[in-house]
Subunit: 398 residues, 3 copies
């Protein structure tokens, strides 16, 4: 996009209602209206284009962005850092090992204590089923209350950097990727996407990506197929959302028991490992009890079950049965690549390598998606603010 195109894109953004996003959090895509989803995708595009044109999108002279990572992260950590920096915010990470964070009363207190000068709080909490989203909501409630009580001069807004339920910064980046790939959101209608479980020699991967994918992609009128072996079910409430969405938005949603059935004539395949729902539930309970022995037994048992489905792998052969043998392969990365990062994993090396560049390009949307989420939660009139940035055209690199 050149400057004229950016201004045109901003003009079209002005037709989308973003009022509801101001001072609001981005936690689950299905809590967001069509307008909110559309505005986020479009603002991400605009911010990306600004940077490509060496126009600064710095809107904060000073201000903190807090990150809380309760699980390892590279991609999302750097995307969040990049997004915040792009807007002018400085990252301050809450390292819970260097702090004294307890539960109950003190979540409210800690949330306020770290937020006096904070514009945004990004949280990853994806390990325990039933906990991550709850924790993020608790922090959101705390800062909301703090703002209302006059404790916080501004309401820091929250961005879900992956919880137990959804991974919106990932799936929104995925959405932007396929919008680009198929030449417009209107072209997603009727496209078949296969969200399929795939074998991995590891254990306990979160459910948030497959849940997020079926929850979001059903909104674009796509034909969404979820496939997994018996027992590897997702949270029933999210499956219900996918079903409701598909009815509402004119696509379809169905479940299959075989990878082949999902891949058949698919336009997009998203083969990815996750842990069985009931294993995750049991694991959460055991972790809370601190029962190490039972945890090891569970892990061993789970890996045994996993092995039964070692043939759930995205092979060249399987890719042949997709639409014209040319479905777009997707993954949230890092993938378990057979013969590369493990003996046998989610995807055959040649398939991954063929789609490596698009995959990497896809990951590159994430900083802009996060920046858009923050931007739209901060400005009542994003159109005016973005126009101002274009017109001032302060260079990002002098």
């Amino acid at each position: 996009m050149d400057k004229a195109e950016i201004l045109k894109s901003i003009e079209s953004l002005s037709k989308i209602n973003t009022d509801t996003m101001v001072l609001n959090d981005f936690l689950l895509t299905w809590d967001k209206s069509e307008d909110e989803i559309a505005a986020t995708l479009q603002t991400a595009e605009i911010l990306r284009a600004l940077r490509q044109n060496n126009i600064s999108s710095r809107v904060f002279e000073t201000g903190l962005a807090i990150s809380i990572f309760r699980d390892q992260s590279t991609r999302t950590r750097f995307s969040f850092a990049g997004a915040c920096n792009l807007l002018g915010l400085a990252i301050q990470e809450l390292d819970e090992e260097k702090s004294q964070i307890a539960h109950g009363e003190t979540v409210r207190e800690t949330a306020n204590m770290i937020s006096f000068l904070a514009e945004v709080i990004g949280i990853r909490d994806d390990i325990y089923l039933g906990e991550g989203h709850t924790y993020i909501k608790e922090v959101a409630r705390a800062v909301n209350q703090g703002h209302q009580e006059g404790v916080l001069p501004q309401r820091p807004t929250l961005v879900n950097l992956q919880c137990d339920i959804d991974h919106p910064t990932q799936t929104m980046s995925d959405a932007l990727h396929i919008i680009h790939y198929f030449g417009g959101v209107e072209n997603l209608k009727g496209k078949k996407i296969a969200m399929s479980w795939a074998y991995s020699p590891s254990y306990g991967k979160p459910l948030s990506v497959p849940q997020g994918i079926i929850g979001l992609m059903t909104r674009f009128g796509m034909d969404v197929v979820l496939a997994h072996p018996e027992g590897y079910t997702l949270m029933p409430e999210v499956v219900a959302i996918a079903q409701t969405n598909s009815a509402k938005f004119g696509g379809s949603f169905c479940q299959e028991m075989h990878m082949e059935d999902a891949f058949k004539d698919a336009d997009i395949v998203y083969p990815k490992s996750w842990a069985p729902y009931n294993v995750m539930e049991e694991r959460t309970r055991l972790l809370q009890d601190g029962d190490r022995q039972a945890l090891q037994a569970l892990e061993k048992r789970c890996l045994e079950i996993n092995k039964k489905y070692i043939n759930w792998q995205c092979t060249e052969k399987l890719m042949q049965i997709t639409r014209q043998g040319r479905a777009l392969y997707m993954h949230c990365l890092p993938a378990d690549i057979s013969g590369v990062s493990c003996e046998s994993g989610e995807v055959e090396a040649s398939v991954f390598e063929r789609y490596r560049v698009p995959q990497y390009v896809q990951a590159g949307y994430k900083p802009y998606i996060i920046a858009a989420m923050i931007f739209l939660s901060k400005f009542k009139d994003p159109t005016e603010k973005l126009s101002q940035l274009v017109n001032q055209a302060r260079p990002r690199v002098y």
Copy 2:
């Protein structure tokens, strides 16, 4: 404060002598003159008002702020980060585990090596009696010497983020809080503040807060009462300072052996746990010797002694005997709240909850107190610099 009021406040700041603060450290409040204390409080107010009016107080285009945390910290860490960011400095934390920091010669060397581009160094070192303040002074001497020798192009100034003796960023925030609460520093005269020990099921809390409180509040002409069980004495030199201050500034200072005597007719109560002085001394020695067995025995013994004073708790009943039953409850946070964060602790849950919002508001002053300390150590004419900020009125959020 609106813009006109801010300018008026800056005008009145111009009557305070701040020359002595330039390139000077903020380590102990009692080393500071009345003017220095007054200027810090007022500059903090002005910086806070600037932010409330969306006026940027960024005075550094680039520059580093170094933090050294030799103990866990959430509140102060984020306050320091926010303060430095507010002025335009980027935080670089010295993580001693990732470095090779020894004692003796190398404190001087390390202090210089990290300071080539540093404007400020914030240090928390509060665990060992007789060590923290000594360490901070050693760093201060090192960078001073480095500056004089031409090694450092600027003299980074130090901010004590809590040592074994004082916790000035906390107590100055506390002071700003009660100045607001009682409607002006002149109204503090004759107000009774009870700095009382309180029971906690934990062990080894620093003495710096109670010491800092009696050392600072006696300067405002307040009636300061220190109460603690036998053996929980503070450093005698700080108690002596409180006595001297009370004589000099027309208030009073006395010590009580019962919480009730301190709370009687108090306008402010500050019930907080700390470790007995001699236990802290013994602990420091044992830690230096690395005698784990003796340390565990000491902890056990100390907790046993603690339990004898389990009734030293800020209860609703006790609050009744304060001035009109309505004393302001204060704590540096986090408090040990009975039935919330522990079974039995420093304060009853209903008392804490009633004063929770003022407490949180109080904590919100800390970033501005720290920013003021840095600001006044950097600019010879803070009045001119602040006026310039108001007149330019660059927005903090564009």
Copy 3:
């Protein structure tokens, strides 16, 4: 330098060809042309002078600088942080413990994933012979490929913050130091520098500093003498480079078996400990095999061998035989100082203390050297960019 002198220095920089530096990495000094070395030294001087004149050298409104430290670091960590901040970049450290970084395929992936908004990547990887430089090259290849494939909107450039082969940010700072000390690079011609092994009670220090010194200083027409006990050889390919350089640049290079022979009439002495090459090789192998027992045995054996050379110490007596007894003592710091940081070490306390201030001054060049490396890799016309900075003269501290 005042403003006029800065402009003159910029003018003379315009005569040096820096085209080859754009989007290029700074990994080994001997891969750099004379012009590239000269331009880096001079740009460092100019950036230093800008700061001394309170002129901002911020050239990035936003942008990330990634650091990867695979070994402990204080000096270089803070130098890199200061350099990046000086140019306007925000540091984001890749903490490999908080990420999931594996080898092979994923170096390419991780390198891309962290680089979407990155302008520069600084890497320290100095522990394993044959690995550090290889790793840095792998990252460089990955981001280069990523940029060419359209994954990365910009090519982040790499700065070697010490690898197994060279330590260019150190040796270039060392060069700037002696250029200042002897009053110009032209005065280095014919000066004798003794790069000598020295005794240390520790084990396994990298070879990169002595290698970097002989590889760089032979380019200034200096008489470079390398001295070490039998077995403490350096990488033969670097020794060969020193030999080639000395022939090409009209100086000399020779090796001695006694510290005295190296110190005789030396203008500069650089006594520093390092591990024997074959020990480092064996250690790398054992570390890769995870053979703890053999590693301990190796360490014990190595320290025993070390002790045989305990008299390799930079004493006052030894300093007497240098040129007029007044050679400049240098060290990359921290030094093992006899009676200070160890019982018996690399240097006598009085020698170190006498040269302490010059040493510290020397270390202060490093942030500017790093900033110059980044600057020259980013701007096609550094002369124009620097002139612009001087002419705009935005203050660094407002």
